[in-house]
């Protein structure tokens, strides 16, 4: 109290700019900005209000509310849904464990999933499609995320365990989703029944995971001193990059079948996944190559001088620095891959967009509701892309201190 009294009458420090000052400086600082403000502000407000009104009053969300499972997994047999559920829970559990171990961004991602699941589980609206069983499942998955986080924090749970989990979990899940011919409990489910978000995720996450090692190999191959390896790498990279994804999808889904012997059958989804993977690998390779070139020659010399061989130098010194330098670019590339997977509709695969189109055609009443369906799909894509780009930005800042020399 006394301090305040003593400072009374002293010269006041300059006041931080108030909102009014900001408005004056930024919106009305000269005549054309004033004009722009006067025209644009009402327009933006009008559009915003109308959109919100549309979302909550005019729009008819029945196509989505009545078919949530269709959007989630496509035609995957309803009596086998527990297989998808277990796969999802497994991944969520690992996500939680990773949050416990590494924190940071994984915390945000885990919590976001937990919040969405909890929200759906507790939604105070009676929905036929959101029955008690589903709510219980969603609730227990939230619990699993937190149990995972608690376990991940334990010292006894080594980082290696979680990484191994990430390496084998996707493979086990996919085998589990496919099932086995003739086994009663988990019969085979043809991928023609798979669809929706499940397929979008499988294609993009699977494509991202598989394309990374291939891209890495191609990037190193392009720098190889063996002419055959180098030639192949360059030919692959440049051919794929010279062609749009649609073409590659068509090649894999049509031409590949013509080339293979008649009795061999390659799964349609698998072919699409290969196309996406190869497409992405070529871009990953070029990005990684850029990173490799950015590592100063002095780093390699220093590694050699302490006696490290070429392999150790690449693995411990060059690669980590190269990958760090290009990580944001690669994340950006993966975001576009995620969105580009919508192209698989063209070769007859029902990803999220494909399901959306079939839902519109499902009932005559839904034909008028295409705007709602596309809006919903756009929102889903936007949310995931937004999270990925936030992730990349965050990685950039946390790594900043280490990359500066």
């Amino acid at each position: 109290m006394e301090n305040i009294r003593t400072t009374k009458g002293a010269i006041r420090p300059p006041q931080p700019p108030g909102p009014l000052k900001w408005v004056r400086d930024n919106l009305f600082n000269n005549w054309y900005n004033t004009l722009l403000t006067v025209v644009l502000v009402p327009t933006v407000l009008f559009v915003l209000v109308q959109s919100i009104l549309w979302v909550f009053t005019k729009a008819d969300w029945r196509p989505i509310i009545e078919n949530p499972m269709l959007f989630a997994v496509g035609q995957y047999p309803r009596d086998q849904l527990w297989r998808v559920a277990i796969g999802l829970s497994g991944i969520m559990f690992l996500m939680g464990a990773s949050w416990g171990k590494w924190g940071g961004l994984l915390r945000t991602i885990s919590l976001s999933f937990a919040i969405v699941f909890a929200f759906l589980a507790l939604l105070p609206v009676q929905l036929e499609t959101l029955d008690t069983d589903l709510r219980i499942y969603l609730g227990s998955t939230v619990l699993l995320i937190f149990i995972g986080a608690w376990l991940g924090r334990l010292k006894a749970v080594k980082k290696a365990y979680i990484l191994i989990g990430w390496a084998i979990m996707p493979i086990i899940s996919i085998i589990f989703l496919i099932g086995f011919e003739g086994v009663e409990k988990i019969p085979e489910v043809s991928t023609t029944f798979w669809g929706g978000l499940l397929v979008t995720f499988l294609l993009s996450a699977g494509g991202i995971l598989a394309s990374f090692p291939i891209g890495l190999a191609l990037a190193l191959g392009r720098r190889s001193s063996l002419p055959v390896v180098k030639g192949f790498s360059i030919a692959f990279i440049e051919t794929v990059r010279g062609v749009p994804l649609v073409t590659i999808l068509f090649m894999f889904s049509i031409i590949l079948v013509l080339l293979l012997p008649a009795d061999s059958s390659l799964d349609r989804l698998f072919r699409a996944w290969m196309a996406v993977t190869f497409f992405s690998a070529a871009y990953t390779a070029e990005n990684i190559r850029g990173g490799l070139q950015a590592v100063p020659i002095g780093q390699i010399e220093a590694a050699k001088a302490v006696g490290m061989n070429a392999f150790q130098t690449m693995l411990f010194i060059v690669m980590p620095q190269a990958l760090r330098a290009v990580l944001p670019t690669i994340v950006g590339q993966f975001i576009s891959l995620f969105k580009d997977t919508t192209l698989v509709v063209i070769v007859g695969i029902n990803d999220l967009l494909g399901i959306g189109r079939s839902v519109i055609n499902m009932e005559p009443a839904f034909l008028q509701l295409d705007l709602e369906v596309y809006m919903f799909i756009a929102a889903v894509y936007w949310v995931f892309s937004y999270f990925m780009s936030r992730a990349s930005a965050r990685l950039e800042t946390t790594m900043g201190t280490r990359t500066t020399l």
């Binding site: 010399e301 220093a302 302490v306 006696g307 201190t401 500066t404």
Partner: protein
């Protein structure tokens, strides 16, 4: 390998090096005894870096022979690896690994090349950091250290492989003046411990204090060599006199 102090550890005979058709080293002859401290100096572009880098095969020489502790440097990869394990190098630009902590910078090669356990590598690394005077920086990243500290880490990194020879290529040229002394002190201490050292430098105080012999390089050749007293008091060649007068003015 109990050898007496007089035996030859580095022997260069008629070493020649070309960059395409540019003749960078023109017949260098040099014999260095175990425990000797050699200072190489000379104008920029005279081939000092090129020469010192041929000694651990960062540059390849095309003619002549280089024998290091009985092993001849040639195309044999095993010989190159052997010699690189036995020579440590300190660069003008430090070349620390920016993605690794100070401790990891030092333990990397002992762990993967010498196959030491982590415990042993870390113990040795901490002793070395103690010796160069910065044990408290062990868990920082190179980017968080001053230039002088970084160069001392680089010296510790080279010493961790327990080399018998240390090569220094202008270790203080990239440093701010106030940091030069902390690095030179570490090098002087190392020289007094009996390490065989080849140092490219223009720090004549260092040369006076610890050099056994000095070599003046110009245009890819050794113009003159001798003890620091010979070089500073009675230089024979005009080029040496001129160069010394130029650098000693500062």
């Amino acid at each position: 390998m109990a050898k007496n102090k007089a035996d030859i550890i580095i022997s260069c005979t008629d070493v020649n090096k070309w960059f395409d058709d540019f003749h960078a080293l023109k017949g260098i002859n040099m014999e260095i005894k175990r425990g000797e401290v050699i200072v190489i100096f000379g104008p920029s572009g005279s081939g000092k870096s090129t020469f010192i880098r041929t000694l651990n095969r960062l540059e390849e020489h095309q003619k002549g022979t280089i024998i290091i502790d009985g092993v001849e440097l040639g195309h044999d990869v095993r010989n190159i690896e052997k010699i690189r394990m036995e020579t440590g190098m300190v660069f003008q630009q430090f070349n620390l690994f920016p993605h690794l902590t100070v401790l990891q910078n030092i333990t990397m090669a002992p762990k993967w090349v010498r196959k030491w356990s982590s415990e042993k590598a870390e113990k040795v690394a901490m002793e070395l950091l103690e010796r160069v005077g910065i044990p408290e920086q062990a868990y920082k990243f190179p980017g968080q250290l001053s230039g002088g500290q970084q160069q001392r880490v680089a010296i510790a990194r080279a010493l961790a492989m327990q080399p018998t020879i240390m090569l220094f290529d202008e270790p203080t040229s990239a440093l701010d003046p106030e940091m030069i002394k902390e690095v030179l002190d570490v090098m002087i201490q190392l020289a007094k411990s009996g390490m065989t050292m080849i140092v490219v430098t223009h720090e004549m105080g260092f040369a006076r204090a610890v050099a056994d012999r000095m070599f003046f390089f110009d245009e890819g050749q050794i113009v003159e060599s001798g003890s620091p007293t010979d070089i500073f008091k009675r230089p024979k060649q005009d080029r040496t006199k001129l160069f010394l007068s130029q650098i000693l003015q500062h």
